[in-house]
C-alpha cells in the first residue's frame, strides 16, 4: 500500500512539474529552445540586372562576403589584429585601429574587409580556423563574422556608362538608369529562419519574406552603342573638342539605340573619375542650338502653307535691320533664292523672314509642338527641360528662329528631327523596352505619339533637309550607299561670367536621318568647343554622323538606296559660317577694316588627339541663353 502511495506521489510530482513547465513556463522555454537552435537571417537580395535589347547584361550583381568583427567578443585585440592582418595581407594597423576604436566605443560592428570573392572567403575561412568551434558556416574565430553583400559589375566597362549609371557602395542607384529605376532594381531584404542541430548544421529553414527584384531591358544595342561611342571618340579627338554627344534613335518607335557621351568613365571604378564625366550631357546639358533650330520656322511655315519648298524668297541685299542690336548680314542670300536652297546654305536672312511670316505665336507654338521647352520624359534622372519662351518682339523672334535665346538638349533636337523623319508624328524617346521579374516580362513601354505637322509637310521638309546634305552645309554627311538628310548647327556658347556670347567657343552639331525618303534612324551629334581648326557642324559633326550611319544602317538590315560612292568633300565646297553671316552694329558709326579674329593655333588633328586624351576635363561651362 505504501509502495503504491509512493509511486502515485512520485508520478503525481513529475506530472505537476511537467504541467508547470508546459503551461506556466511555456513561452519562456519555447523561446530558449528556439534561440538555441534557430537563427533568423536577413539577406539583401541581389539587385536586378540591366540588359540591352539583345539580352547582353550591362549591369549585374554578384554575391560577395564582407568580413566583419564584433570587438566586444574579441579579448586580445592586438594579437587578433596581427593574425587577421597577416591573413588579409594588410598592415596590422589597418585592422588594429578600427578594432581598438570599436572596443573603446563599445561598437559591435566593424568592417575588416569588404566585398570579397568566394575564393578569398574560403582561403580566409581556412586560415582563421581555431579550436573554438563556431557555427560551421561562420568564420571559426571568436568575434569574426561573415556578412553577405553584393557587388555590382559592369562587364562592358565604360560602354553607355552615363546612361546606365552606377550603384554606390550601399547598392543604391546613384546615376542613370540605376538611379531612375531604383525602386524596380533594388533587392528587397528577405528574412529566413534556420534551425540548426548541435553541430551547427542547418536542418530546416523557411523564407518568411521575399520579393524578387525586377530586371530592366533597355532599348539600346550593345553593338550599336559601341560603334557610336567609337565614332564619337574619334570625332571629338579629331576636332579637339572639349566633349561630345551622339545619340541614335529609331524615329518610328522612339527607341534609343545608342546614347554616347565623351569623355566617359568606368562605372566599375567610378570613384577614380572626375564627377563631370558622370553627367549624361545628352539629356542634362542645355545649349543654344544655332541653325539646327531653323526647322521650326521652315517647318511651321510649310505646315501653315505660308511658303512652299520650291517657292522663292527675295533676300534683297541680305541685311536684316535690328532695333538696338547687331544687324544680320547674310552673304549667302542675295536677290532671289528658293526656300530649299536657303535652308541648304543655312541662310539666316531667309529663316528670319520665314519666322516673321509665321508670327510670334505660331513660332512659339511650333517650338512647343516639336517638344522644345519641356522634358522628353525619357527614363533617366535630372533631364533638363530647356528654355523656350514666347518671343517678346520681332528681334527676339529673329534670334530664336536662328537658334539663339533658346536652350535645348541634344535629345530634344533629336526628337524634333525624329518627328520630321516619322511623317510629322513625334514619338516620345524611350530607353526601357520592358521590365522583367523571374525572367518573365511584366510590363512593356508604349511610346506616346503626337501629330506635330502633316505627313506632306514632313516629306517636303525631309527633301529640303536632304538638299542640306547633297548641296549645302552638310556635304560631309553624305553617305556611301544611302541617302540622308539633316541640318548643321554652329552656335557660340554663352559665357555666364561675361554675360555675352563667347566668339571663340562653339557648339557644333549635326542632326540627321537616313535613308532620306524612308528614315530608319535619326542621329544627333553635338560637339562642345571644337578647337582643331574646323569648328562648324558641317565640318566636325557631320563626319561623325556619316561614320555612325554607315556602320549602323547595315547592322539594322537597311538596304542601300543609292549608288555606293566614296566622296571626299573639301572645306572650300562647304559654306562656312564666316561666309554665311556677318554682323553690323548700326548704333556705332565708326567703320574700320579689321582682320578676321585670328583662329587659335592650328594643330594637326592627330597631334591634338594625343593631348586631349591626356587631359581630363575639369569643369564644363554651362551654356545659357543669351537673355539679351
Amino acid at each position: 500500500m505504501l509502495i503504491v502511495a509512493f509511486f502515485v506521489l512520485w508520478i503525481g510530482g513529475i506530472g505537476a512539474r511537467l504541467v508547470h513547465l508546459q503551461i506556466n513556463q511555456h513561452t519562456e522555454l519555447r523561446g530558449k529552445a528556439l534561440n538555441q537552435r534557430r537563427d533568423t537571417v536577413k539577406e539583401k537580395q541581389l539587385r536586378g540586372t540591366i540588359y540591352d535589347r539583345d539580352e547582353h547584361p550591362l549591369a549585374m550583381s554578384l554575391k560577395v562576403k564582407s568580413l566583419v568583427a564584433d570587438p566586444s567578443e574579441i579579448e586580445n585585440i592586438e594579437a587578433t589584429s596581427k593574425q587577421i592582418a597577416k591573413i588579409l595581407n594588410v598592415k596590422t594597423e589597418t585592422i588594429l585601429k578600427p578594432l581598438k576604436e570599436g572596443k573603446e566605443r563599445n561598437k559591435r560592428f566593424v568592417y575588416l574587409a569588404r566585398k570579397l570573392d568566394d575564393a578569398t572567403v574560403k582561403n580566409i575561412n581556412e586560415r582563421l580556423e581555431t579550436a573554438e568551434l563556431k557555427k560551421n558556416d561562420l568564420p571559426k574565430y571568436t568575434g569574426l563574422h561573415w556578412r553577405e553583400e553584393q557587388k555590382r559589375s559592369y562587364p562592358h566597362n565604360s560602354l553607355a556608362a552615363q546612361l546606365i549609371g552606377f550603384s554606390n557602395g550601399e547598392d543604391v542607384g546613384s546615376a542613370g538608369i540605376e538611379q531612375s529605376q531604383e525602386t524596380l532594381l533594388h533587392g528587397a531584404v528577405t528574412k529566413t529562419w534556420r534551425d540548426r542541430d548541435r553541430y551547427g548544421r542547418v536542418y530546416d529553414e523557411e523564407e518568411i519574406e521575399r520579393e524578387e527584384p525586377k530586371d530592366v531591358v533597355l532599348t539600346i544595342s550593345n553593338s550599336i552603342q559601341y560603334k557610336v561611342e567609337q565614332a564619337l571618340e574619334k570625332g571629338v579627338k579629331a576636332a579637339n573638342a572639349k566633349s561630345g554627344i551622339a545619340i541614335a534613335m529609331n524615329p518610328r518607335t522612339g527607341e534609343i539605340l545608342a546614347m554616347a557621351n565623351y569623355p566617359s568613365f568606368d562605372p566599375n571604378r567610378y570613384t577614380e573619375f572626375a564627377v563631370e564625366n558622370y553627367t549624361n550631357r545628352a539629356v542634362q546639358n542645355m545649349y543654344a542650338p544655332g541653325s539646327v533650330f531653323k526647322i521650326i520656322a521652315f517647318g511651321g511655315a510649310l505646315n501653315e502653307n505660308l511658303i512652299k519648298a520650291d517657292g522663292e524668297i527675295n533676300c534683297g541685299n541680305g541685311v536684316i535691320k535690328m532695333n538696338g542690336r547687331d544687324d544680320i548680314v547674310d552673304k549667302h542670300c542675295h536677290q532671289t533664292i528658293s526656300y530649299t536652297d536657303a535652308l541648304a546654305v543655312s541662310s539666316n536672312y531667309a529663316t528670319i523672314k520665314t519666322a516673321k511670316l509665321l508670327g510670334n505665336e505660331n513660332f512659339f507654338d511650333y517650338s512647343q509642338r516639336f517638344g522644345f521647352g519641356k522634358p522628353t520624359g525619357i527614363e533617366v534622372p535630372a533631364e533638363a527641360r530647356g528654355t523656350v519662351r514666347s518671343p517678346a518682339n520681332a528681334d527676339s523672334l529673329a534670334s530664336m528662329s536662328i537658334g539663339y535665346e533658346v536652350n535645348v538638349t541634344a535629345l530634344q533636337t533629336l526628337s524634333a528631327y525624329g518627328t520630321i523623319a516619322n511623317d510629322g508624328v513625334r514619338v516620345t524617346p524611350r530607353l526601357i523596352k520592358e521590365i522583367r521579374q523571374d525572367g518573365k516580362a511584366i510590363s512593356t513601354t508604349e511610346a506616346e505619339t503626337t501629330q506635330v505637322m502633316s505627313a506632306e509637310t514632313a516629306k517636303n521638309l525631309r527633301r529640303m533637309l536632304e538638299k542640306v546634305v547633297t548641296g549645302g552645309t552638310a556635304k560631309r554627311a553624305k553617305l556611301n550607299g544611302y541617302t540622308a538628310g539633316g541640318k548643321t548647327g554652329t552656335a557660340w556658347k554663352y559665357n555666364a561670367t561675361l554675360k555675352k556670347y563667347d566668339e571663340n567657343k562653339y557648339i557644333s552639331s549635326f542632326i540627321g536621318f537616313a535613308p532620306a525618303e524612308n528614315p530608319k534612324i535619326v542621329i544627333a551629334v553635338v560637339l562642345d568647343e571644337p578647337q582643331g581648326g574646323a569648328r562648324d557642324g558641317g565640318q566636325v559633326s557631320a563626319p561623325i554622323f556619316r561614320e555612325i550611319a554607315e556602320s549602323v544602317l547595315p547592322e539594322l538590315g537597311i538596304k542601300p538606296d543609292t549608288n555606293i560612292k566614296n566622296e571626299t568633300v573639301a572645306d572650300e565646297d562647304i559654306p562656312t559660317e564666316t561666309e554665311t553671316t556677318a554682323t553690323k552694329k548700326t548704333e556705332k558709326k565708326s567703320v574700320e577694316t579689321k582682320k578676321e579674329p585670328k583662329k587659335e593655333e592650328e594643330k594637326p588633328s592627330t597631334q591634338k588627339t594625343k593631348e586631349s586624351a591626356a587631359q581630363k576635363p575639369k569643369t564644363e561651362t554651362k551654356n545659357k541663353s543669351s537673355g539679351k
Binding site: L46, P57, M60, L62, K63, D118, D137, P155, H156, N157, S158, R194, D195, V202, Y203, D204, E205, Y226, A238, G290, S291, R325, D326, I328, S399, G403, T473, T488, G489, A491, W492, Y501, G532, G533, A534, G538, Q539, P543, E547, T568, A570, D571, E572, T578, T580, T581, T583, K585, K588, S590, T593, K594, K595, E601, E602, K603, P604, S605, T606, K628
Partner: protein
C-alpha cells in the same frame, strides 16, 4: 416469484480462480500491442532522424544551388567581359591584328587644306602623326582674310 439458479448454467471453464495462469492469447495480444507500440516509437524516431537528415541535405543542396547560381552569374559576367569589344580589341592586338585607319581622322586630314596634304610619318600600325614642319606650312598658308566689318563691342550672332 421465481429465482433463477444461475450457478447451474455457469460454464466452469469460464470461472477464474486465483492462481490460474493468464491465458496465452492475452499474453500474445499484449506482446503484439507492445511490439507495435515499440515499433511505432522506433518508426517515429527513424522518421524524425531521417527528416532531420533530409533537412540537412536539403539545406546543403540549397546552399550548393546558391553557390552554383553565383558561379553561373560570375561566368556570365566573365563571358560578357571577354566578349566586350574592348577586350576583343585587346586580345586582337595581342595576336598582332591592327586596326583599320580611322575614316574620320582621314577626313580631317583631307579637309582643311586639301591641296597641301601633310606628310605623315607612320610610327605604328594604328597611329599616324603629322610632321611639325607641315603644320607650320599650313599655318603660314592660312593668311588672315581682310574683311570690312563695323567695329562692335557688343555680342554678335552667327549661325550655320
Amino acid at each position: 416469484m421465481s429465482r433463477k439458479n444461475t450457478s447451474k448454467n455457469r460454464n466452469p471453464q469460464n470461472v477464474k480462480r486465483e492462481g490460474d495462469p493468464i491465458p496465452w492469447r492475452y499474453c500474445l495480444l499484449t506482446l503484439g500491442c507492445g511490439l507495435i507500440l515499440v515499433g511505432g516509437f522506433f518508426f517515429a524516431a527513424r522518421q524524425h532522424f531521417s527528416s532531420i537528415d533530409y533537412g540537412i541535405k536539403n539545406s546543403q543542396l540549397k546552399k550548393q544551388k546558391d553557390e552554383l547560381e553565383t558561379a553561373q552569374r560570375q561566368l556570365l559576367i566573365d563571358k560578357e567581359f571577354a566578349l566586350s569589344p574592348t577586350s576583343i580589341k585587346k586580345v586582337a592586338k595581342e595576336y598582332g591584328f591592327t586596326e583599320v585607319a580611322a575614316s574620320i581622322e582621314s577626313l580631317y586630314t583631307e579637309s582643311k587644306d586639301t591641296k597641301v596634304k601633310p606628310k605623315t610619318e607612320k610610327i605604328s600600325d594604328t597611329k599616324t602623326v603629322v610632321k611639325k614642319s607641315d603644320v607650320n606650312t599650313r599655318k603660314e598658308e592660312k593668311k588672315p582674310e581682310n574683311k570690312t566689318i563695323v567695329k562692335t563691342d557688343s555680342k554678335t550672332k552667327k549661325g550655320v
